[in-house]
């Protein structure tokens, strides 16, 4: 049983378990946390899952968990692992079921006071324009042939269909199209589950939020991102819906035989994997990339719904009701990137599961408009609490393969939350704080209560202190829409 004393403190916020901790570890494991936060890693299976991740073939440097870590399945949530692209493996358990779950931030030209009189109408219009909850079909219908085109072209497909603007694509990770998508590797069942869900939020922790920029920490970077104090912005948090869930499900099952074929031993069957350079590994990557592109289009189509709702409610009432895209980031993904390891450029497959890319200034992957300052990183808080906009750093490139946290991270199970929190009470409490809420179910609301999560500000302080990203702005919610 690993204990806190087994961790070596590398610096104030980095804790390392040596490779010798368990005989099957190939690299050391690193947790990014404050001293107080580290204790929470021992309350669930975070540490065990991180050690398991460190056993995967081809893993480079460290298995890492960002400060919003908690128990997941396979990798811990907040998990980051870079595999050598030539000798390493790719694992669906290192990406998760909601492939390319992510966050999009759109900024308005409006001040909080200009929106305030219309906030309730706007929330209702968003609720109608952006379908949420279980079994709700999405905003657009597509044929099976169009689905094949959509998953290969990603956001470019949305642009062609009038569901995007050129500048939206420029401000999306991978410009909204992950190369290498192969629809022939996607099952009929995944197509069926995903066919009618394009442009829908789904349920669980997914949400749409109207926020106000409450504080700017870094005026220069905020200016580059088009953010200023008291400005109204919108966050969209969702992923690849049933399409991605089914692809993960299919490959976690089918790769169970691949590990035998390639003689790979894994400590947890959810960590099933295949060599990146194998027919099975390529098939998973091709299918996963389809789900990544599906999710980019999903958030893009919802973004158009958000613009439509703003127009419908605010046209003729405010000077400019338009919204521009600040950025869109994935937080469940595996992708090929080049990183410097021990002085050499190495091509790696970075798995980020509940973790966000946080590239520093100068990287070609960062949009031109932001290249001098670094990539925007979007860190939503729990419902009703603050969210953060951060910027990627050179330090993150050195210590975490350009990765950082993705949110607050849970501390309380859903059943505990349901026992302790009564949904209608919570709704009233949040409304008393001035928040407008539209939720499909009060139970769902209780499961996602702020008390079930770590304090996002503490998580962000660790991220900022460790240099995994730097604070740019803090957002405060005005209205929340949940499935």
């Amino acid at each position: 049983m690993v204990e806190k004393k087994d961790f070596r403190r590398v610096d104030k916020y980095i804790w390392e378990l040596p490779k010798e901790t368990r005989p099957d570890m190939r690299v050391p494991a690193r947790l990014f946390a404050s001293a107080e936060m580290l204790d929470s890693a021992f309350r669930d299976r975070t540490v065990e899952q991180l050690i398991n991740t460190a056993t995967l073939p081809g893993i480079l440097k460290y298995a890492m968990a960002m400060p919003d870590f908690h128990e997941g399945y396979g990798f811990p949530i907040g998990g980051v692992a870079a595999m050598d692209a030539k000798t390493g493996v790719i694992s669906p358990g290192g990406v998760g079921y909601d492939i390319n779950c992510g966050v999009r931030l759109m900024a308005s030209h409006l001040e909080k006071e200009e929106v305030a009189p219309y906030l309730r109408d706007l929330t209702n219009a968003l609720y109608r324009a952006c379908p949420s909850g279980v079994g709700e079909p999405g905003r657009i219908r597509i044929s099976p042939r169009e689905l094949d085109e959509l998953v290969v072209q990603g956001a470019k497909w949305a642009l062609r269909r009038g569901q995007a603007r050129e500048e939206d694509l420029a401000h999306t990770e991978e410009e909204g199209t992950l190369p290498g998508a192969d629809p022939s590797k996607v099952s009929a069942r995944a197509r069926e589950r995903g066919g009618d869900q394009i442009g829908s939020l789904g349920a669980g922790n997914h949400f749409l939020e109207i926020d106000v920029v409450e504080e700017i920490y870094d005026p220069e970077v905020a200016r580059a991102f088009g953010l200023r104090e008291n400005q109204v912005v919108v966050q969209i948090h969702c992923g690849s819906r049933g399409f991605g869930h089914q692809i993960c499900d299919d490959y976690v099952k089918s790769l169970q035989t691949a590990i035998q074929k390639y003689g790979i031993t894994i400590p947890d069957r959810e960590l099933v994997c295949a060599p990146i350079d194998s027919p099975e590994g390529r098939a998973y990557y091709g299918a996963m990339a389809c789900a990544v592109n599906y999710a980019f289009v999903n958030r893009q189509v919802l973004a158009m719904g958000v613009r439509e709702a703003f127009r419908d409610v605010l046209q003729g009432k405010v000077r400019n009701f338009d919204l521009y895209q600040v950025y869109d980031v994935a937080h469940n993904i595996a992708k090929f990137e080049e990183h410097e390891i021990d002085g050499k450029r190495v091509r790696v497959c970075v798995h980020r599961k509940g973790a966000t890319r946080a590239f520093g200034p100068g990287r070609p992957e960062v949009p031109t408009a932001y290249r001098d300052v670094g990539q925007p990183v979007l860190v939503p808080g729990s419902m009703g609490t603050e969210s953060y906009v951060l910027v990627g750093t050179d330090r993150a490139m050195e210590i975490s393969f350009g990765s950082t946290c993705h949110g607050a991270g849970r501390v309380m199970s859903r059943s505990q939350a349901l026992k302790k929190i009564w949904g209608p009470d919570l709704k009233r409490e949040l409304e008393e704080q001035g928040l407008v809420i539209r939720a499909g179910s009060t139970k769902g609301l209780a499961e996602e209560a702020p008390a079930a999560y770590k304090n996002v500000s503490q998580v962000v302080e660790v991220v900022h202190g460790a240099g995994l990203a730097r604070k740019v702005a803090r957002l405060r919610p005005l209205a929340v829409i949940k499935g």
Partner: protein, 135 residues
């Protein structure tokens, strides 16, 4: 909570401990547990019946495949399956009937049944396992 399964703590998702005298009972109880996570089974009128015939290389994969089938049908048709007549369950094959309907009180959407820590273990009374569901 009905017998045959219980919810156990999991920080982010939901997990069930499931038990039964044999594979047949274990698989039926796991499916009942899934239904209980999704909805209040008392509010389900079992008006739809399906035949199920599934194969897998081992019993854990068969269990994930079986639960995955019910999750898929729930998403496709909105049906929560609450009654199960499993005629045959071997470590590699399952054959039987499931009955269910739309739920009056839907609890939560389940994305998938995972392999996380999944092992079917013999106990003094039969078999037991722990299943983590992504929600």
């Amino acid at each position: 909570m009905p017998s045959g399964f219980e919810e156990i703590p999991h920080t982010a998702d939901v997990a069930l401990r499931v038990w039964g005298n044999d594979l047949k009972e274990l698989f039926a109880n796991a499916a009942r547990g899934l239904a209980w996570l999704m909805a209040d089974p008392e509010t389900v009128q079992p008006e739809k019946e399906i035949r199920v015939d599934l194969s897998a290389p081992d019993e854990e994969t068969l269990l994930v495949t079986w639960l995955g089938e019910l999750i898929y049908l729930n998403e496709r048709d909105g049906v929560v399956f609450t009654e199960f007549d499993l005629e045959e369950v071997t470590p590699t094959h399952l054959r039987g009937t499931a009955r269910g309907g739309r739920a009056g009180e839907f609890r939560r959407f389940v994305k998938a049944a995972t392999f996380s820590g999944l092992t079917i273990r013999p106990t003094g009374h039969g078999l037991e396992t722990t299943i983590t569901f992504d929600v």
